[in-house]
Amino acid sequence: MVHQQEPGAAPDDPSGASGAPAGAPSEGRDGRRSLVGRHTGFVAALREAGLPVSVAEGLDAVRAMQMIDLVDRDALRAAYAATVVKRPAHRATFDTLFDLWFPAALGDGAAYTGGSADGAAARSRDPAARRVPPPLDPEVQARRRELFDLLLSGDDPGLRQFARAAVAEYGRTPGQESWFSSGVLRAMSPETLMAGLLEAVLTGRERGGMAERVARRDFRARIARFQDLVATEVRRRIAEDTGVERTARMAVRPPLERLDFNRAARADLAALRREVHPLARRLATRLQQRQRAGNRGRLDFRRTVRASLASGGVPLSTHHRPRRPHKPELVILCDASDSVSAFAHFTLLLTFALREQFSKVRAFAFIDATDEITRFFAPGVDVVDAMTRMASEADLVWITGRSNYGHAIKVFEDRYADAVTSRTSLLVLGDARSNYGELSLPVLRRLADRARHAYWLNPEPRSQWDTGDSAASRYGEIVPMYECRNLTQLAEFIEELA
């Protein structure tokens, strides 16, 4: 067998082996020991990847494993997921690591139980024989036809098997030491099958309509699934060569809530967007609750007396008039320049989400000029539309197109000074990099003094503040500045408001 090295970090087993029957054959004991080792290694890797797995949860997982059929890999996955993953955002990381620690196959695809690993290895071909470029290689073409049928029928087990075989065949080119998914995907180029797939299901029907869109989405999902399977299989092969733990460290991306806004890819932004809404709701309730806590409203004499009739005239419970709910007003001033584009994208999302939560929100974006963008974010409007319209219609650029905080703040005061009143919370979002321009500190101080609260969220790591053209601490003296580069920090900021 290829695969006997144990994860090195596994501490000597804490409990499991002692549970083995005294007379158990030594290999059974070893099996159990290795299972415990595998478990502790897996949990350690989850922790290293940023999942907060407590000791109790690890023990729960062990207990759960005694309840299920360990040969059923999906049940094992479900058992681990139920006990150690408590946030949807962590699920992707968990799946990647699970596939590494509990691989679906060994070597070239022999299952746990059956035969020698080399039996199926017949496929690995002599590198010298493959000199023909893939599109001309008849074997590659035959493979692609096979893939086409699998994608068309949506046969998931078949696809999994195919991915395994394809990696064995094309995952390693001559001279390469390691495994790569790029070789497989280049040879199979699944995206180019799309046209044919659509052709096959839309026979005769009108193109460009709804049917095509629906079908296209399906196939796109299946192709993505195939790419996923290939990537998983490649990771598994690498892990067999170089050890599970090293591979895990390379394969895992930070979980969503620690993901840097500025490095987020497009897909991440969609996920972030879903996370932002609950946070906005929380921010809104925080700002409201500050008011609500404290004394109840005035005594409602009439209702109290009426209620006392039920208890013989003794006013057991007093009724109060509801307090007029405090409607917090929020003014958001956000940097929409390129240097913070990903962050700006995120802040606009936050703006949008806040807009739906607060009774009165006015949002302003600036680059080197400032414009009100509230109108683009009316409640009920589509967020993607709003962003595109804002980009094309709002008057944000004055001369340079590089952020100029000084001018932006001045324009803000000139044109929208009335937006900030003693009831306003002012929220500034930006990296405080003014391209060595002026800062308009007195103007900002006037605004901050007038507002009820003022906060500044800065997407740059604190260590980079005040380097180069950053005026972080000079602005920070006027408006309390918080580092906010991921959802965790945003949530912390919101908690701190309470």
Partner: protein, 302 residues
């Protein structure tokens, strides 16, 4: 209804109401029309086998509450539901004394009775108003306790839940500790509007319920809407999937897929083409902006 037994032994008789394996969960839930997948079946089984509360999170309308109802039905258990909301407190969730009745009892008591005796009388079982959590703990029959939308409640409620769910007992100062005679199957749902505390999550098993994959959803539609053609159900489910992928405010839930299928059936439509979708879009999308977006993205001639 509720039996009065407080603080008996804690042995729970195993009987046929309990699930024997994940496959058993799967089969029995399917009998009452809840189609589970492997993850759901395994997690429900584990929650039962480990005696832990099950926290189910996910978007609205994927069948979280339904799951609790289905489990209650197949186990022949009584479903006790605690609906959470902002401002929910101990008196509403756990127990309360019936003040009015107590007051009447005091007024009715003859003057020569000692105060201490009156006091003991009015803080007795008779004056206790049971709320869902206490009711679930005191029941001797099989019970499913559904704590619905826990994210809507205030953080303080979670503290109370922690105490109840980790030991399955409640301390009432005047009466003493009430321990569960028989552990209820606890299911907590959340729409993740607020992150629940780590402490609560640690004590629960966790299931993230998402929209089902197309095959499972098709089966659900077929099971719920008798008389619909399989091909139409398939087409419908795939269209709903496409709608869910659009960036819209309220993605269609399973219930809405089912409603849609019923609508198509009622209108006698046997194919879901652009015209049919345009006519019936209001069944699945409940916001004007969502509908506009769908019309644009799907190329409907609205």
């Amino acid at each position: 209804m509720t039996a009065a037994g407080t603080g008996h032994g804690s042995t729970v008789p195993a009987d046929s109401a309990e699930f024997a394996s994940p496959a058993d969960v799967d089969r029995r839930l399917a009998e009452v029309g809840y189609l589970a997948d492997e993850a759901i079946a395994t997690t429900v089984y584990l929650a039962q086998a480990l005696g832990k509360p099950l926290l189910v999170e996910g978007p609205a309308g994927v069948g979280k509450t339904e799951l609790a109802k289905a489990v209650a039905t197949v186990q022949g258990a009584e479903l006790i539901r605690l609906q959470c909301y902002e401002g929910l407190d101990e008196a509403r969730a756990l127990y309360e004394f019936n003040y009015k009745k107590q007051l009447l009892a005091i007024q009715a008591a003859s003057g020569d009775r000692a105060w201490q005796q009156t006091h003991d009388d009015i803080f007795s079982e008779e004056f206790l108003l049971e709320r869902p959590l206490l009711a679930a703990i005191r029941r001797t029959g099989p019970t499913v306790l559904l704590i619905d939308e826990a994210d809507k409640a205030d953080v303080e409620v979670e503290g109370m839940l922690l105490e109840v769910l980790s030991d399955f007992q409640v301390t009432i100062p005047e009466l003493g500790t009430v321990a569960a005679v028989r552990r209820p199957f606890v299911l907590i749902t959340s729409n993740a509007a607020r992150e629940l505390s780590e402490a609560l999550k640690r004590r629960c098993l966790y299931l993230h319920l998402d929209y089902p994959d197309p095959e499972r959803e098709r089966d659900i539609v077929l099971a719920r809407v008798p008389g619909i053609e399989a091909a139409l159900a398939e087409q419908l489910v795939r269209t709903v999937g496409t709608l869910r992928d659009l960036e819209i405010k309220k993605a269609p839930s399973i219930a809405e897929s089912v409603d849609w299928a019923r609508t198509l059936l009622a209108l006698g439509l046997d194919e879901l083409d652009e015209a049919a979708v345009a006519r019936t879009l209001g069944v699945v999308l409940k916001h004007v902006s969502d509908q506009e977006r769908a019309v644009k993205e799907l190329g409907l001639k609205g």
